[in-house]
């Protein structure tokens, strides 16, 4: 029995019940991981996964059940469980019922293409690739630990619903993460971790773009190893592409409609308000080429772009069919689930600042004196109050419009709802990297895409404990 006929059987079985709406998702994933640490292969792992998830609406209440087993008895039980859950929810729910925003049904099959499909590649080819990258990188004498991780996924996704949609999509992704700890004369270790990848197979790592990325990684390692610690203060900054994306991404959690409807973001009723400078336009676009790309979301909504902020004015939120129905707007193709085992929720795809008109050199000139903040080591944000903190892997001082010393051991902090007002320029070019985002226990791939972004001020704090942190005039922080 094919996956497609299994999905049809589920829909047909579910339609015989008293459910108002049913959707079924089936996924068949091949994923492969090869890891190399300090010149030795440390993992050759293959994972084959199938999963099915059934979501039903009964009296406008949800029920969801999922399983990793696709045999006949399991399938019927999953539908029965989903309906049982929905009935139980309906019996206990006194709030207004769920209304799904209307979408047109579709019957289509779409696929990514690649030169080296992960399903048919031999492990030897991957190991050769990693050994070559390792050979080139390990010449840096400051490296203590060097980790290379090659991840590939080939996912067949089927979506069918009781409204007549039958969608098949095949998504192929490859990513390579380079991680290292380096130390210089101070013996204080610094961590360097970056990723490269996108739609396609490992041919992505045989092209010039990867070579440039790899060369830059190698070149910065000794500089970071010998980088000095920074004096914390508020100052003008330029965020590199990865840090720029991190800021954009953390802000965009606050435009996820489920958080807005749950009062976990203060941006409700702020559509049309000015919340950023005129330089700021933010877009989420699942159809844009990036690691968060897909053709249809996990509710069968065709991928499209959403203009979140235009010229500093808040324009739109990210929606699922449910949140769009509740707000009486159209869904934005942001209903995503980690796999068919999970239900869809509002998630970002490829979210990015629209590029500006500057070259990097022009941004340096505008900034004159400040800090170039590079590559995130992690970050978090409180969407209710707006506080955010992003840890940088390293930075470079900007002195008289030019890059100077390497520095490390710092984070940037601020408030999501005021920081966009301080943006005063963006470069013309976008950088794009693979990344992941976790929400309510579900991890999805997202495209880390951004130009370089300059801000007229940003609070920079030390994250090295031995240093006394100076008092910062942090006018942006307030309770909302």
């Amino acid at each position: 029995m094919t996956l497609s006929s299994t999905a049809s059987d589920v829909i047909n079985y579910a339609l015989k019940t008293d459910a108002d709406y049913v959707d079924v998702r089936i996924e068949n994933t091949f994923s492969n991981y090869v890891g190399l640490r300090n010149n030795s292969i440390c993992g050759v792992n293959t994972n084959l996964q199938k999963s099915i998830g059934v979501r039903v609406l009964y009296k406008n209440c949800w029920g969801f059940a999922s399983s990793s087993s696709l045999d006949n008895s399991s399938i019927k039980r999953i539908v029965d469980d989903a309906i049982k859950c929905a009935k139980k929810t309906a019996a206990n729910n006194s709030k207004p019922p769920i209304q799904l925003a209307k979408i047109s049904s579709r019957k289509t099959s779409v696929s990514d293409s690649c030169e080296k499909d992960p399903q048919f590649l031999e492990q030897k080819d991957r190991i050769t690739l990693l050994n070559n990258i390792n050979k080139k990188t390990s010449s840096v004498k400051e490296i203590n630990v060097l980790d290379l991780k090659l991840l590939e996924n080939h996912t067949q996704k089927l979506f069918l619903n009781s409204e007549g949609s039958e969608i098949e999509q095949i998504l192929i992704r490859a990513s390579l993460f380079l991680g290292s700890s380096v130390s210089g004369s101070s013996n204080f270790q610094k961590i360097r971790s970056v990723g490269f990848g996108g739609v396609g197979g490992i041919e992505l790592f045989e092209k010039n773009d990867f070579d440039k990325f790899h060369d830059s990684f190698i070149k910065t390692l000794p500089e970071i190893a010998h980088a000095k610690l920074i004096k914390p203060k508020e100052q003008p900054v330029i965020l590199n592409e990865e840090m720029g994306w991190n800021l954009c991404h953390e802000f965009c959690h606050a435009v996820e409609a489920d958080l807005i409807l749950s009062d976990l973001s203060p941006l409700n009723n702020q559509i049309g308000s000015k919340i950023g400078s005129e330089q700021v336009t933010i877009i989420d676009d699942a159809s844009f080429k990036g690691y968060g790309e897909y053709y249809f979301d996990d509710e069968g909504v065709k991928a499209s772009g959403t203009l979140i902020i235009e010229d500093g004015i808040l324009f739109d939120f990210l929606q699922t069919r449910e949140t769009a129905g509740e707000s009486n707007v159209i869904p934005t193709s942001n209903g995503r689930a980690e796999s068919a085992l999970y239900y869809p929720q509002v998630r970002q795809s490829n979210t990015f600042f629209e590029p500006g008109n500057y070259t990097f050199e022009e941004l340096l000139e505008v900034t004159r004196n400040g800090l170039y903040v590079c590559d995130s080591f992690g970050g978090n944000a409180d969407t209710i109050h707006g506080n955010f903190q992003l840890d940088a892997q390293y930075g470079r001082k900007i002195e008289k419009g030019e890059l100077s010393d390497f520095v490390t051991g710092f984070s940037i902090v601020g408030n999501l709802y005021t920081v966009l007002g301080d943006i005063n320029g963006m470069t013309k070019d976008l950088g794009s990297f693979p990344s992941y985002c976790g929400k309510n226990g579900q991890r999805v791939s997202v495209g880390a895409i951004s130009p370089q972004v300059s801000l007229k001020r940003m609070s920079v704090i030390s994250n090295i404990a031995q240093r006394q942190i100076r008092k910062i005039d942090f006018t942006g922080m307030k309770e909302i």
């Binding site: 292969i41 226990g441 031995q466």
Partner: protein, 454 residues
């Protein structure tokens, strides 16, 4: 049923000439109730099962996982192919039959029979009573009951099987009084059926109320900061505990032999801790569980380890038995899908025995940090961390004076735990770290080695 798959895998591996094979089978059932805006929004039932194989051929190791054990022949063949192509060289073999436990071990089965209907009814009753209590603006959360059955077997004739259940709940309450919006959260981790849901919900509401009249505090280093088990547990989980895994590459590995923590500090990784979330009879390689002392009298004893791993063991004193199949940023943090790695189970900071005074009295004047966020970005290589204080209070003369505005606190966990003036509390609390497989059991701590920055 799952034994049959394991037996079949063994037979096939023998037939195709693998030198050794290890089979890990896991079956999980998850019941999840999601509360949004004060009502039950989603009820979810999830089944997950699958098989993971590690194979050795000519001293080369491979790993394959799949949730289609009915295709066991193809999976074993793929595993053999990967082993043939692999350059991951290992010495020795999987652990042997001296660790066999022939009797199926059913552990913590208190929750196995609870139905989703029963759970719903218990929670609904509370939610209805809360809905009537103004000014609760919002109440979100989830309650999860998970049953896990796992079997580990290998070609050295080692077989083990175990069933366990666990319950987790997270509640987040928002209240509005005039212009003031306050938030409070409460968490539960249990191996038993939790009866008193009202207390859990009330606790989050009480916290939300307590956030009224928050005051801004001055930056710098206060006389003392008291960290609740929730706050300290999160910092330890990300800035400290990973460095006890011998494969983590922490810069402190080489100096652990000479590292001198506070002499009262005793740290134990204890997968046998009664009723805790990460209590198991054996690890995911089959080693029997037992408490493993990592720091005693302020001195580091051993690091945590496993049989086969990414890194050759350079450290002579490493415990075996801390192999788990885990990941982070995911609801399902323990799964056959993930390759085995070294991680802590229940990491226990032993409480002091004598209770002479109230800890607030010992703090005197300072800050009490109850809840934080952002610990996941801590640097365990160096022990440095900066976290955001979500819930904190100013303390004067041993009394809570007022809640404080959100701020950032920073420190180095090694400096904090080395400090002779560190005060360790006397009451242990279990802290499960969200979206990670980590579990910390510890008391409050008072330190003077942290800095407040806005």
């Amino acid at each position: 049923m799952i034994e049959l798959f394991a037996e079949e895998a063994m037979k096939i591996s023998h037939a195709i000439g693998l030198d050794a094979i290890e089979v890990f089978l896991q079956k999980k059932n998850l019941k999840r109730i999601e509360i949004r805006k004060g009502v039950i929004k989603n009820i979810i039932e999830q089944e997950r099962s699958g098989i993971a194989l590690r194979s050795i051929l000519n001293n080369q190791l491979s790993f394959v996982s799949s949730n289609s054990p009915e295709h066991i022949k193809e999976i074993v063949e793929l595993s053999a192919q990967n082993a043939r192509d692999s350059s991951q060289i290992v010495k020795g073999n999987f652990i042997d039959k001296k660790y066999i436990t022939p009797v199926q071990n059913i552990r913590d089965n208190n929750l196995i029979d609870i139905t989703i209907e029963e759970l719903c009814e218990r929670i609904s009753e509370i939610l209805i009573s809360i809905e009537k209590s103004k000014p609760v603006k919002n109440l979100d959360g989830d309650v999860i009951v998970e049953t896990e059955e796992r079997l580990i077997a290998n070609s050295e004739r080692m077989w083990k099987r175990e069933v366990g259940t666990r319950m987790k709940a997270n509640i987040l309450t928002t209240i509005q009084v005039g212009d003031f919006i306050g938030m409070g959260s409460s968490h539960l981790a249990s191996r038993q059926l939790f009866e008193n849901w009202q207390i859990l919900f009330n606790s989050s509401i009480k916290t939300a109320y307590s956030q009224q009249s928050r005051k801004k505090i001055s930056t710098g280093r206060p006389k003392g900061i008291m960290l609740s088990p929730e706050a300290a547990g999160q910092i330890l989980a990300f800035a400290f505990i990973p460095s006890f895994s011998y494969i983590s590459g922490s810069q402190y590995h080489e100096s652990f032999n000479t590292c001198k923590f506070n002499s009262n500090l005793q740290l134990i990784d204890d997968p046998t801790y009664n009723g805790a979330q990460n209590t198991f009879s054996f690890d995911d390689e089959g080693y029997p569980s037992k408490p493993r002392v990592v720091v005693s009298g302020g001195k580091c004893k051993r690091l945590l380890g496993m049989n086969f791993s990414c890194t050759e063991n350079q450290w002579k004193d490493v415990y075996l038995g801390n192999c788990y199949r885990v990941t982070s940023l995911n609801l399902d943090t323990r799964s056959y899908v993930y390759a085995p790695t070294v991680t802590a189970s229940n990491f226990v900071v032993k409480a002091r025995k004598s209770i002479t005074t109230n800890l607030f009295d010992e703090l005197g004047n300072g800050i009490y940090v109850k809840e934080i966020s952002g610990a996941q970005d801590a640097n365990y290589f160096t022990g440095d961390f900066v976290v955001s204080v979500v819930e904190g209070y100013e303390i004067k003369n041993g009394e809570i004076i007022n809640p404080i505005m959100p701020c950032f606190i920073s420190g180095n966990i090694y400096r904090i735990l080395e400090d002779p003036t560190l005060i360790i509390g006397s009451v242990l609390q279990e802290v499960t770290i969200p979206a990670t497989p980590m579990n910390v059991i510890m008391p409050d701590l008072i330190t003077s080695r942290m800095t407040i920055s806005i």
